[in-house]
């Protein structure tokens, strides 16, 4: 297991290096000078401009800059934002918790619902309920996530007025609530964005889980379990479900980038102040120091998720533990 994690970590490092490199060069070879705040029109003297370029290290050859950048990143220094002149790490850390809360809750809900529905469908294969859910999950899977968010806002915030459609807390009264009240206030604000991400994701998870469960149910040890007189509950939940979850765990790793993509849109729709909304902001204002850092952070999140999925897999499947 230690070796497995070691190998995965090494792979992750390589991938991160590739991600950093490609974003760095992608931005540097782009037309114009995206890393340079434009001072020439502001009446700043040429010497002063040069001095600032030197301060940001922009006068050196690109490979030197690249080396310096890697060194900085390795030591946790992500540079300064050209828009607000603040350290990029500070900007990201300010936003990261919001995204992590949103996406991890969505991920949990996505898999909980997806696995539940998929399992039930496989169990009741061919029933009217299964057929209905097949269409329903396929539709969710095919719906644009931001549009779904709007539909939820229309229904629950605009028409019914029972859930807030934007923000993180109720501004103005949040501070004076009791701790429990604050928690409830936060939950209320989480419901719509989390549901948007989770339900869209659950569409594909359910489809995947249904297939995996059907595959498992057709295997011999299920027949064996039935032949041993085990109750249907035991057969489905103890034997079939557990095994069908193995491929679904791999899906967990794969669905993280999709989830983060979705959160870019969902955070924009619900004005949720996380990394996703920050991506759009920074890209629009061409704050490429922040953009590069977000690329790195998303890669770290995805790779960490993959690692967790790998570990989960080896916990769930004793056969995987022996493999190098």
């Amino acid at each position: 297991m230690g070796r497995l994690i070691g190998r995965k970590l090494f792979q992750a490092l390589v991938v991160m290096l590739l991600v950093t490199t490609s974003t760095f060069f992608l931005i540097h070879i782009a037309p114009g000078d995206p890393f340079m705040p434009d001072l020439s029109v502001s009446g700043v003297s040429a010497e002063r401009t040069d001095q600032i370029r030197r301060n940001f290290g922009l006068d050196r050859p690109i490979y030197v800059q690249y080396g310096a950048y890697l060194k900085n990143v390795a030591s946790g220094n992500l540079g300064l934002s050209f828009r607000s002149y603040r350290p990029v790490s500070e900007i990201i850390i300010e936003r990261l918790p919001n995204t992590i809360v949103l996406t991890s809750l969505a991920l949990i809900m996505d898999f909980a619902i997806g696995i539940l529905i998929g399992t039930w469908q496989a169990w009741k294969r061919g029933s009217a309920g299964d057929r209905f859910l097949t269409v329903a999950t396929l539709t969710l899977h095919s719906t644009p996530v931001f549009w779904f968010g709007f539909m939820l806002i229309l229904a629950f915030s605009v028409s019914l007025r029972i859930l807030p459609g934007s923000g993180v807390v109720t501004i103005g009264i949040y501070d004076s609530l009791t701790p429990l009240g604050q928690l409830w206030d936060r939950i209320k604000h989480l419901i719509l964005p989390v549901s948007t991400l989770a339900l869209i994701g659950a569409g594909s998870t359910a489809r995947f889980q249904r297939a995996a469960m059907l595959d498992t149910l057709s295997q011999d040890f299920i027949k064996s379990a039935r032949a041993r007189g085990l109750s249907e509950c035991t057969v489905i939940f103890r034997h079939a479900l557990r095994n069908s979850l193995l491929p679904t765990i791999t899906l967990l790793g794969l669905s993280l980038p999709v989830l983060l993509s979705g959160s870019v849109l969902v955070e924009t729709v619900f004005s949720w102040p996380g990394i996703g909304a920050l991506t759009v902001d920074s890209v629009q204002s061409r704050d490429y120091m922040v953009v590069t850092a977000i690329g790195l952070v998303s890669a770290v999140m995805v790779l960490a998720g993959n690692l967790v999925a790998d570990i989960l897999y080896s916990v769930a499947d004793p056969r995987a533990r022996r493999k190098p």
Binding site: V19, H141, P144, V158, L265
Partner: protein, 336 residues
């Protein structure tokens, strides 16, 4: 029974005759890509007509047997035909501001089936033309992604060694960053508003998973007996790739492409919604949603209609993709 199949053909021919002049217009105007799309669709129509007048081959009738596959084909066919004939079916130019003072944000009515938007453009026309844009981006970007993905995957699977290592780590890197991120960065860096560049960029960021799939297939097929046998017979590796391996990876690629078009439509919609995709005034389903999102309370129908159109298209494509998977690749039908 067979005589009934002549009905749609006759109707179509009549339609062509009546509208001949305007179809001529349609073919002569528009960009190269639009013309290509039109030509492709005409080919498809011709194929459908040919299939209706000749007895259906058994494979096809089997393919179209499930109810949901029929519905999906029908929906997709209708959307494609409406897209191709948008200039005729729409009634208005999608960018024409009909009545700036009294015609803004009108709810759906007989005159405007889907209502009008914030500068009094007819939403029905915009959704039809949006279908053109969205479908065109979908088809072209996927064609591109599939081509690159197949080449990379074949190269990795065929050469192995460090080529495979480098290519696959590259694919890992590509897959470990959310696609929207790549797209936003590239689109903003090159500051593009051009639809072809957009297609290029969506294509360039869409090949990672295809190459993974193709590589896995190549690795699997390489070990199959018939390939080993061919190698034993002294056929060159290149010959094996072209004659033995390539034909075998085609079915999964076709499935991948069908599902991919749906995904690209979703990606394009998201990008346009964020303001980085198709630029105004041209409609794509994503930009129409963006337009509507700023007036979601006053005119909820603007957001609703294109979203439904996207969902219908993508669902239909997914159903057809699933069906293709089952028909082309019965071995894997349990997956997905």
């Amino acid at each position: 029974m067979r005589s009934f199949r002549w009905v749609p053909v006759t109707l179509f021919v009549l339609f062509v005759v009546v509208r001949a002049g305007r179809i001529g217009d349609l073919l002569s105007t528009g960009t190269f890509v639009e013309q290509t799309l039109v030509a492709l669709t005409f080919t498809l129509l011709a194929a459908i007509i040919w299939l209706t007048i000749t007895p259906w081959p058994e494979v096809l009738s089997k393919f179209f047997k499930p109810f949901d596959v029929r519905i999906a084909s029908l929906v997709l066919g209708a959307i494609m035909i409406l897209a191709v004939f948008a200039p005729i079916a729409s009634g208005h130019h999608p960018n024409t501001q009909l009545d700036l003072v009294n015609g803004q944000l009108l709810p759906p009515s007989l005159a405007h089936p889907f209502g009008t938007d914030f500068v009094s453009r007819d939403l029905w026309s915009r959704v039809l033309f949006g279908a053109r844009v969205s479908l065109m981006i979908g088809v072209l970007a996927v064609t591109m992604a599939i081509t690159i993905g197949t080449m990379v995957g074949m190269a990795a699977g065929y050469f192995g060694g460090w080529v495979e290592l480098v290519l696959m780590r590259l694919v890992d890197a590509g897959l470990s960053i959310p696609r929207v991120f790549w797209l936003l960065v590239i689109v903003s860096l090159w500051g593009t508003t051009d639809i072809y560049v957009l297609i290029l960029i969506i294509g360039l960021t869409g090949w990672f998973s295809t190459s993974r799939l193709v590589r896995a297939e190549v690795l699997r097929i390489r070990e199959e007996d018939f390939v080993v046998a061919a190698r034993g017979l002294g056929i060159s590796e290149a010959g094996i790739v072209i004659r033995q391996i390539l034909p075998n990876v085609v079915p999964p690629i076709i499935v991948n492409a069908t599902l991919g078009i749906g995904q690209v439509i979703l990606v394009e919609a998201g990008l346009s919604f964020l303001g980085f995709g198709v630029q105004p005034p041209w409609p794509s389903w994503g930009t129409i949603i963006q337009d509507g999102s700023a007036r979601i309370i006053a005119a909820p129908w603007i957001v609703t209609v294109p979203g439904v159109a996207i969902a219908l298209t993508v669902v239909s494509l997914a159903i057809l993709g699933d069906r293709l998977q089952t028909t082309l690749n019965p071995r894997d039908s349990a997956q997905f």
